[in-house]
């Protein structure tokens, strides 16, 4: 059920219930009041008759002899009926001669009597000489009650219908933006990530539209980033693959030194491809949030020593400054190894031939890595350094090294900074912070 239908139903049922309850109480009260008024009328009429009889001469009444006086001979079946009788029960005067022929005695006070299937409400009072009975038909009372009830109910019912119509129109009007928003989402193509445009003055809906548009925008960025990454990855993988295939073709038609050179070149491309795949896997793992497993405490010195051994001859150019006997248990050795390896690799490959300094600093809340080397990088290129697949020279390396370092730093609530000093010194600073979560 739609919100509009549900809201309309709630409003309609509330209105009708309220109207029904108030009508019930007012109608029942009306019935009591009519009964009371009519009874008062009977009582007042009886009192009036009593007074009339007191001031009317006794002889006049006696003149009638055995025949009762027809006080209201022309009386119809409507209106009050009045009967005056002697204390012995003899009818002295009667407004309706055909009424109460059978009923001779009616007890004083109010009572209901029935004659010829007609119910009467009576009031009987006694004086020293007479019994006065005033009666009216119950059916007339009911007719009066229904007449008043209907004349009261019709305007209320009309008011109710008009109110319900207004309520329905109002609900429809004010929920229209919501329906438009809902339809625009429902009718939207699954690939359409453009912002939702809603021309509505409904302020309450605006945050929802804004958040929806922000979500769409983030989704679009994410998909574009993913697409761009995939395209770049495919492009980067094609290059070493082409190198391998083309060198194999050359090897197929040549011999001797040229043939051997072609095979050696194949190996270069294969190694580049392998490194590229490794880097892509690390980056993908970092971005998917899978994280790394920490297999206990490890020694910083041991890790740096093994890294330097893998670097080969270039290690002679590297000055290492690290804290003595520093054990680390909050990050995997693999992460620090990758960070230091990529930074040193870049310094060796792209820096000048001078010394390189690797400085690992123990901080209260983590660790900092600072790699400094001789060399100059243009200011405008500094912010490109950690962009994926960005290179500053002829095709060399995977273009992912610093992007991986940045992704790792972010995993540890840290960051990466590049600084080009005026004295031909370039440095990269990486900050890593301890975390409560386990990797």
């Amino acid at each position: 059920m739609t919100l509009q239908a549900r809201l309309s139903l709630i409003i309609i049922s509330t209105f009708i219930s309220f109207w029904a309850i108030t009508s019930y109480f007012s109608v029942s009260k009306l019935e009591n009041n009519i009964e009371l008024s009519m009874d008062n009328r009977l009582q007042a009429t009886a009192a009036m008759m009593q007074n009339i009889l007191q001031i009317t001469s006794r002889d006049n009444i006696r003149l009638t002899g055995n025949n009762p006086v027809l006080v209201n001979d022309a009386a119809t079946s409507k209106g009050l009926a009045c009967r005056v009788s002697s204390l012995s029960g003899k009818v002295v005067a009667n407004s309706h001669p055909n009424v109460f022929k059978e009923i001779k005695i009616i007890e004083p006070g109010f009572s209901i009597v029935e004659e010829d299937n007609i119910k009467w409400r009576t009031f009987t009072s006694k004086t020293a000489e007479h019994t006065i009975t005033i009666a009216d038909k119950m059916s007339e009372r009911s007719a009066l009650y229904y007449q008043i009830a209907i004349s009261t109910a019709i305007p209320s019912a009309l008011g109710l219908i008009i109110s319900l119509a207004f309520a329905w129109v109002a609900v429809r009007h004010y929920l229209n933006p919501l329906e438009t928003f809902s339809n625009s989402l429902k009718d939207r193509n699954i690939k359409d990530l453009s912002p939702v445009v809603l021309n509505s003055s409904l302020k309450e809906l605006q945050p929802l539209v804004d958040s929806q548009n922000e979500l769409l925008s983030r989704l679009k960025d994410s998909i574009e980033r993913e697409k761009s990454f995939t395209e770049n990855a495919a492009h980067e993988l094609r290059t070493p693959l082409t190198g391998i295939i083309s060198q194999l073709q050359v090897a197929g038609i040549t011999d001797g030194e040229v043939h051997n050179n072609a095979l050696a070149q194949c190996e270069v491309s294969a190694q580049l491809m392998s490194k590229l795949i490794d880097d892509l896997l690390i980056l993908s793992r970092l971005e998917s949030g899978v994280g790394f497993h920490i297999d206990g405490e490890w020694q910083l010195k041991h890790e740096i020593d093994s890294l330097l051994n893998e670097i080969g001859d270039a290690r002679n150019r590297i000055d290492v400054i690290i804290p003595v006997n520093l054990s680390i248990d909050w990050m995997p050795s693999f992460a620090l190894n990758v960070i230091c390896r990529n930074l040193l690799d870049n310094a060796i490959r792209y820096g000048d031939k001078g010394n390189i300094q690797l400085n690992v600093i123990s901080e209260v809340d983590g660790l900092s890595v600072l790699v400094t080397n001789s060399g100059t990088i243009e200011e405008k290129k500094l912010k490109m350094l950690s962009h994926r697949f960005w290179r500053d020279s002829v095709q060399e390396g995977t273009g992912l090294g610093l992007a991986i370092v940045e992704a790792l730093a972010k995993q540890f609530d840290g960051h990466i900074e590049f600084e080009q000093k005026t004295n031909n010194i370039f440095s990269v600073f990486v900050r890593l912070r301890k975390q409560n979560k386990s990797y």
């Binding site: 094609r238 083309s246 050359v250 038609i253 040229v258 070149q265 002829v394 095709q395």
Partner: protein, 224 residues
């Protein structure tokens, strides 16, 4: 045939240079846009094989600047960007052909030859001039049906002349075509090869234009 290869990957460029040179196609390799521009100012090429992702810019920029200066050098884009959009973009920027990596050398060579053929207005890979016939595929020259025994350098010289049948070719262009842009060549070695070629073809086929260079004789000059 003299090719300008603009490719930053050393392994791929090495393979292309080696393969094409086995087919007696001379290749000048430029790893960057700036070096490609330099080559284009100092030498003449039959075809340019152009990579797009270069360290100092996009290969399309070079393509655009060449077409702006109305340089009609046939250009084949050889790139890892293989989507339809990339191909359309490259061709719309003025490229004559597009080949995505990885590629097969047979296809690359066929496309290069096709570009040469189209730019020279030929319909086949056999060039005829009076009694002389030269098959670009087999690199075999015949005179009145008899095969000429030409050395590799003489074959390169002949194909260079035949690919520019109406032009006066400078000495430096001939040197670039047979030795490559990078090689330093002794000043008289070209003359030795020209002398030998003239001797095998017959003196009337290659004409010296004093102070300008050399040209191939026209058909009517040969008949006369």
């Amino acid at each position: 045939m003299h090719i300008l290869l603009v490719e930053d990957d050393p392994v791929i460029s090495n393979a292309i240079c080696t393969y094409l040179e086995t087919l007696s196609i001379k290749v000048a390799h430029a790893p960057t846009l700036s070096s490609a521009k330099l080559f284009l100012t100092i030498s003449c090429f039959d075809v340019c094989v152009l990579d797009l992702s270069l360290p100092d810019g996009d290969g399309l920029n070079l393509l655009q600047s060449l077409r702006k200066t109305e340089n009609s050098l046939p250009i084949l884009i050889l790139t890892a960007r293989g989507s339809i959009d990339d191909k359309v973009k490259g061709l719309e920027h003025g490229a004559d052909d597009y080949l995505a990596k990885p590629f097969d050398f047979r296809e690359l060579v066929a496309r290069i030859k096709s570009l040469c053929r189209r730019s020279e207005g030929r319909t086949s890979n056999t060039i005829k001039l009076a009694e002389l016939e030269f098959d670009l595929d087999s690199q075999i020259a015949t005179m009145s049906g008899k095969r000429l025994k030409l050395s590799k350098t003489e074959t390169l010289l002949l194909s260079t002349f035949l690919s520019r049948p109406t032009q006066i070719i400078t000495e430096s262009t001939l040197k670039d075509a047979i030795y490559g842009v990078h090689d330093d060549v002794a000043s008289n070695s070209l003359n030795v090869h020209l002398f030998n070629l003239r001797k095998k073809l017959g003196g009337q086929y290659i004409i010296t234009e004093r102070g300008l260079g050399f040209r191939l004789a026209q058909e009517k000059e040969l008949k006369a």
